[in-house]
């Protein structure tokens, strides 16, 4: 990684380190608001009787909502100029590649999450690489994230990536 590239030394030094840890409570009303915003009216997320008829002890959190249950609170003054918080990505920033986009996500779901479960997320920076695309160089960042509940059970693990372009 040359100093001429898009990746500064401070960011490169963080590969392999924990980018972020967060703990949050899974909340039924919050996941139901999310599901409503998706137009996802699956009764597993809404209807206790239906969920119990399918072997759950109560309604369950939609799998893709889990990642939001641990989001923290960012003061307006701490937002980046583009309005994003940066907290979940461990505030990785690339001054030479400020335009950021989600790359992809790959998640394995091991257990359901229920209302008031306490989820702890540990996110590690797996890699930071400079790549060549159709429209020039970009930075590809990959994180590995593990979610556990209050019983230390593995609920989900994910690999996510972000693209940052000049």
């Amino acid at each position: 990684m040359s100093s001429e590239g898009l990746i500064d030394a401070d960011s490169a030094a963080r590969i392999g380190t924990v980018a972020a840890t967060a703990t949050g409570e899974v909340n039924r009303r919050d996941w139901q608001r999310w599901a409503a915003a998706v137009g996802d009216h699956n009764p597993l997320w809404f209807d206790t009787e239906y969920a119990q008829a399918n072997g759950y002890r109560d309604v369950i959190c939609p799998p893709l909502y889990l990642q939001y249950a641990v989001l923290g609170v960012t003061a307006l003054d701490d937002l980046r100029p583009d309005g994003s918080s940066g907290a979940v990505s461990g505030s990785l920033a690339f001054p030479r590649a400020p335009r950021r986009m989600a790359g992809g996500e790959s998640t394995t779901f091991h257990l359901p999450a229920y209302h008031l479960d306490e989820i702890t997320m540990v996110r590690t920076i797996a890699s930071i690489d400079e790549k060549q695309g159709r429209s020039g160089s970009f930075v590809l960042v990959t994180w590995h994230t593990v979610y556990r509940n209050q019983h230390q059970q593995l609920v989900a693990e994910a690999t996510t990536s972000m693209i940052a372009r000049p």
Partner: protein
């Protein structure tokens, strides 16, 4: 209501999921940003999206596309099925007002420790353009096991 069970026994490679079609509008985008505590201006500030990031309009959130694609799967498998693995890549942007489709195809099935696992190729599309390709694995109940 999703009262009909989908069984492992009844799914074969090549089967297509019922396609979900959604035209995301700015109201839905607002609620999704609110529900995910996402302040990124690119999803609500047209001037920022145009002048600072070079797009024609605000962009539909990638995680909203992902959630809609997952919805197509969880609607299909019903209450007795379980999403086990879900993997997608953001490949192209989508703008509000564009009809998007979300679907998939069964690529394989296997019994692992008594669980019926079904593998899928999935994609979000706008006409022929693939916005978000991916793969997923679901666990489905076996006939006679429920």
């Amino acid at each position: 209501m999703l009262t009909q069970h989908l069984f492992y026994d009844d799914v074969e490679p090549g089967d297509a999921l019922p396609e979900l079609t959604v035209t995301v509008d700015e109201t839905q985008m607002f609620f999704f940003s609110a529900a995910t505590n996402n302040g990124h201006r690119i999803h609500y500030d047209k001037e920022w999206a145009r002048d600072r990031e070079g797009y024609d309009n605000v962009l539909v959130q990638g995680p909203l596309q992902a959630a809609l694609l997952a919805r197509a799967i969880t609607d299909w498998i019903g209450g007795a099925g379980r999403l086990v693995e879900y993997s997608v890549q953001n490949r192209a942007i989508a703008l509000p007002g564009q009809p998007l489709s979300f679907g998939g195809t069964v690529t394989g099935k296997r019994l692992v420790d008594g669980a019926g696992l079904v593998d899928l190729d999935i994609a979000a599309r706008r006409d022929e353009t693939v916005l978000m390709p991916g793969t997923a694995t679901v666990a489905l109940p076996l006939r006679g096991a429920l």
